[in-house]
């Protein structure tokens, strides 16, 4: 007994990858284990914690609730794709990432990629959130370390940084 495999192409952070996966392979596992993009973390595998959130065509999606085969013909952005090109090898931190540094928005860092992708999409939708809107923006992601206060501050600071950058 062996599994049937499917040939797919995934576009992740503007790079196209050819993959051969079983139909049941989760997008989160394909990103992490097949492509080595381990920045996307898996915290619950039932869509509640939000750590595995990636952007699919710009919209936040739980990659643990998607099959890799259903992500073909989409543009996927993971945490590895959030830095901005400034000519340096690693690029400079994007506004949300930079805000997390300044506001101590992370501790163990495990939930962080899901917050970064969620907030990136949230600020596209609402570039000048109020504090209540900032809380609403992150209300679907779990963090066990920070108590969220500094993440809320990070959302507000990210909006400022984004508006300051050309």
């Amino acid at each position: 007994m062996s599994e049937e495999l499917v040939d797919i192409r995934l576009t992740v952070n503007d790079v196209v990858h050819a993959l051969r996966v079983p139909a049941r392979r989760l997008l989160s596992d394909a990103l992490r284990h097949d492509l080595g993009l381990t920045g996307t973390h898996v915290g619950c595998e039932h869509g509640v914690c939000g750590a595995c959130t990636v952007l699919v065509d710009g919209r936040p999606m739980r990659s643990c609730l998607m099959f890799a085969v259903s992500a073909v013909d989409t543009e996927i952005t993971t945490v590895e794709g959030l830095a901005e090109d400034d000519g340096s090898p690693e690029g400079r931190l994007g506004p949300v990432q930079q805000a997390f540094v300044e506001c101590h928005g992370l501790q163990c860092g495990f939930c962080t990629p899901g917050f970064l992708t969620t907030i990136t999409a949230g600020l596209k939708h609402n570039p000048e959130p109020t504090e209540d809107e900032a809380r609403e923006m992150i209300a679907g992601n779990l963090c066990r370390c920070t108590g969220y206060a500094n993440i809320v501050r990070s959302v507000l600071r990210a909006a400022e940084i984004a508006s300051e950058r050309p």
Binding site: M1, S2, E3, P22, R24, R25, D29, R32, H33, D34, L35, G36, L37, T38, G39, T40, H41, V42, G43, C44, E45, H46, V48, C49, A51, T78, V79, E80, L82, A83, L93, Q97, F100, V101, H104, L106, Q107, C108, G109, F110, C111, T112, P113, L116, E131, R135, I138, A139, N141, L142, C143, R144, C145, T146, G147, Y148, A149, N150, I151, V152
Partner: protein
């Protein structure tokens, strides 16, 4: 030494890695297209709380392509077939029991490991697990403390009454003091189970190298040296053959201090057996049912007090639910029994506890580790005394405080580390003054009236705690200045998000006079520092921080000795600034030497391979009349030292909360949360405040939302993040007001005390106090005696305490 970075809000160095998705957690090790050949493990776990295993049939598994190995207990031999270690064998733990790596004959909780499968990927491994057939003979499960105390059924047939241990401590004659006290009261208080639930569960990866005969294990643990010793012992290897690396850890909160988990042994054994890399990554349900829980206890309090509310005698009995096994000994109940005293000095104190078996997940420390229960018991008692005497709750506390001139204060008890419970320093009256100002205690009655006019119910509560932090036995550190001038620091305890790479670099930068950016800190890697204990009990900053400070000073001594020789100056005249040693008071550039050059000089070489090493060959350096390395010296610019304190250092703090309870729905809303915190000198206030904010959020979860819901058959019915209500941002206070008091510890060179657990300790106590206060005008006699409390439970309490003449109606009519 000019202190530059200690006490500063230095941004974290580890953030860059985490924010770019470059963290390396255990499941990230050896992945991706280039790392083919990693095998994945899955575990068959008991679906029953209590059963005898009659037969295990694995024959169907063998048909599945890609399955490499399936083990049950019968396949294990030698030490692996014996029970797992009883890590902390306290003498009073008369009936300690631990599980087997794979269950032998009997299972004692839902989730206990029965069979272990290794396959090409996790999907296939789980397919295989699903094909294993086990037949059971059911035994009656013991669930909950009532069941354990009743002892109608036994968890372990050779443990009478389900009692693992009974421990009693007494200072003075508490019962006599209560009998002769002017006033007495008694309370029954319970706390339910919760758990650490870090976002990253457990995980282990092992690689066996047959060419060198070495095992490398990556594991998500709070003690890499502990896991290393356990693997060596269980797999019959020399300690020197086993390296344990703790990579980035996605939260611990206590649960990862227990070790070795079955998988931490089975994974390396499978790697050695198969000659392949093997990985186990726990899923969320597995974490709920096969890691560890904490908090479940029942308490009975008898207290005698005088007209001022001063406690003359306190007698506490409690029952601790230790689950099915006791690998971590009696640490949690011992901490409850001792830390219950908080900042107070009762005239006499007796405590007795029983640690009891149930057919549920075992209990090991979770952030706070028994202190939240102790604080809850003591603070509920303080509130009850205040209510009985009609006094302000802060007044009763003040009457019982240990005063600032009474330190060191010996409680006459033995603490969790086997040492005296002796507080080193603190200023509790000053903390209370700060807290009252911060929360607006004296202004609250006016606020309550104002709210009542709007038909709103509000209440205020406070809770005080003392936390023994930085327990021994020791931690160590190694500091190495490389010829590049860069400083490499290693300490053996592990990191789970506390920012050790930042705060420890602050300490080194200050002690050595080097740039912060030139200091790199490694934690939890037994190859870099093989002597270590672990990260628990808020001990990392105190223990490793002190050890690193001492090791850096040793390194500095060596720097000055070599530099003095090279500069032909006295050591006393030298200073180190920005990595350059120079004679004080001389102009820049003259009479100076950088640390990299000092490192070159410290290691006389035979071979040159670059310009720096050319400068260190024996032809260039040294006095031909002396040995190149002096008799009492060593080559290399390194320093190593250890810190081993006589006893713990005691941090303290007080929280206050203002809550609003909905008159109709009993919904509980937080209006204001205030924290006064004293952890001695702060290395990095930004990080300490982050710890407090996180602790408070976790405490809110424990007080209002989180509980482990077992049904009568021992099934954990809420074993998912859907059903176990961990707070989102919407459940935690929007703002926490924090004020610090810095009472330095006299026990360590930096004057620091631990800060990691503090935020979570007073939560159950402070919310019980505030909710009871909110209800008091409307439902007299409504006492909060069971935590956590949900709106439904508050509603039921209201029903049981019919309202008096409703204040709201009167005011609104």
């Amino acid at each position: 030494m000019t202190t530059k970075l200690f006490g500063e809000r230095v941004p974290r160095v580890e953030d860059q890695r985490f924010l770019r998705g470059k963290g390396r957690y255990v499941d990230d090790v050896l992945v991706g297209p280039g790392a083919g050949g990693v095998l994945h493990a899955a575990v068959l776990r008991s679906p029953h709380a209590h059963a005898r295993i009659v037969d295990i049939d694995v024959s169907d598994v063998l048909d599945i392509d890609g399955v490499h190995l399936v083990w049950t207990h019968d396949d294990l031999s030698g030490a692996m077939a014996e029970p797992l270690p009883l890590l902390i064998p306290h003498p009073q733990l008369t009936h300690g029991r631990t599980q087997y790596a794979l269950a032998k004959d009997e299972v004692n909780y839902v989730g206990e490991a029965i069979a272990f499968v290794v396959a090409d990927d996790r999907y296939l491994a789980e397919d295989a697990v699903g094909r294993i057939k086990v037949s059971y003979e059911f035994l009656p499960p013991v669930v909950g403390l009532d069941g354990a105390r009743g002892a109608e059924h036994l968890v372990h047939e050779d443990v009478p009454g389900n009692v693992a241990a009974r421990l009693e401590q007494e200072n003075g004659d508490a019962r006599a003091a209560i009998a002769s006290a002017p006033h007495t009261l008694s309370l029954d208080l319970t706390v339910e189970r919760s758990a650490s639930t870090p976002l990253e569960g457990r995980g282990t990866v092992a690689r066996w190298d047959p060419d060198t005969g070495r095992m490398t294990v990556w594991t998500s643990t709070q003690t890499s040296t502990g896991v290393r010793a356990a693997i060596a012992a269980k797999l019959g290897m020399d300690l020197g053959q086993v390296d344990v690396v703790t990579p980035d850890v996605g939260g611990g909160f206590g649960v990862k201090i227990n070790h070795p988990w079955p998988e931490e042994l089975l994974v390396p054994l499978a790697a050695r057996t198969l000659g392949r890399v093997v990985k186990f990554t726990e899923d969320r349900r597995e974490h709920f049912i096969s890691a560890a829980h904490e908090r479940g206890q029942q308490h009975q309090v008898e207290v005698g007090y005088d007209d001022d509310g001063r406690i003359l005698g306190l007698d506490v009995r409690f029952w601790h639910d230790n689950g099915a096994y006791t690998p971590y000994g009696l640490i949690v109940p011992i901490i409850t029994s001792t830390q219950l005293l908080g900042p107070y000095k009762p005239g006499a104190y007796r405590v007795v506890f029983e640690s009891l078996y149930t057919n549920t997940v075992m209990v090991t420390p979770y952030r706070g580790a028994g202190r939240p229960q102790g604080c809850y018991v003591m603070e509920r008692t303080m509130d009850a005394i205040a209510a009985a005497l009609g006094k302000d709750r802060t007044e009763v506390r003040s009457a019982n405080f240990i005063q600032p001139d009474e330190f060191p204060y010996d409680h006459g008890l033995i603490f969790q580390d086997g040492r005296e419970l002796e507080y080193d320093s603190g200023d509790y009256p000053a903390s209370l003054d700060k807290l009252k100002a911060l929360v607006g205690w004296d202004e609250f009655p006016a606020f309550r009236e104002e709210m009542a006019r709007e038909r709103r119910r509000v209440g205020i509560g406070l809770a005080c705690y003392v936390e023994g932090t930085g327990v021994g036995p020791y931690e160590g550190a190694h500091v190495h200045i490389e010829t590049s001038g860069k400083v490499k620091v290693a300490t053996g305890l592990t990191t789970q998000g506390q920012g050790h790479a930042t705060v420890f670099a602050q300490i080194v930068a200050d002690a050595l006079g080097v740039g912060f950016e030139n200091v790199e800190v490694v934690t939890g890697d037994t190859r870099r520092m093989p002597y270590a204990v672990g990260t628990f009990a808020s001990r990392a900053a105190v223990m490793s921080g002190s050890a690193i400070h001492l090791a850096a000073l040793r390194t500095r001594e060596k720097v000055l000795r070599i530099a003095a020789d090279a500069l032909e100056a006295s050591e006393d005249d030298l200073e180190i600034v920005d990595g350059v040693v120079s004679v004080k008071g001389t102009p820049d550039g003259t009479a100076s030497i950088d640390l990299g050059t000092v490192a070159v000089l410290s290691n006389p070489l035979r071979y040159a391979f670059d310009e720096a090493s050319k400068a260190a060959t024996q032809f260039t350096v040294g006095d031909p009349g002396k040995p190149p390395v002096a008799e009492d010296d060593e080559p290399g610019l390194e320093g190593r030292d250890f810190y081993s304190p006589e006893r713990s250092t005691f941090a303290s703090g007080m929280h206050a909360v203002i809550v609003e309870t909905d008159p109709d729905t009993a919904e509980i809303k937080i209006l204001k949360y205030a924290v006064v915190h004293d952890c001695g000198r702060l290395i990095n206030p930004m990080i300490v405040e982050g710890q407090i904010q996180g602790g408070v959020a976790q405490g809110v979860g424990g007080a209002l939302y989180e509980r482990m819901a077992y049904d009568e058959s021992g099934q954990l019915v809420n074993a998912s993040f859907m059903d176990f209500l961990m707070p989102y941002v919407t459940e935690v206070p929007a703002h926490i007001d924090i004020d610090h008091l810095e009472t330095p510890s006299p026990l360590n060179p930096l004057g620091i005390k631990g800060a990691g657990e503090a935020g979570v300790i007073p939560s159950a106590a402070v919310f019980a106090s505030a909710i009871e206060d909110a209800e008091a005008p409307y439902h007299p006699g409504l006492g909060i005696t069971a935590m956590p409390i949900s709106p439904s439970e508050l509603f039921e309490l209201r029903q049981a305490h019919p309202p008096v003449e409703p204040v709201e109606t009167k005011e609104s009519s």
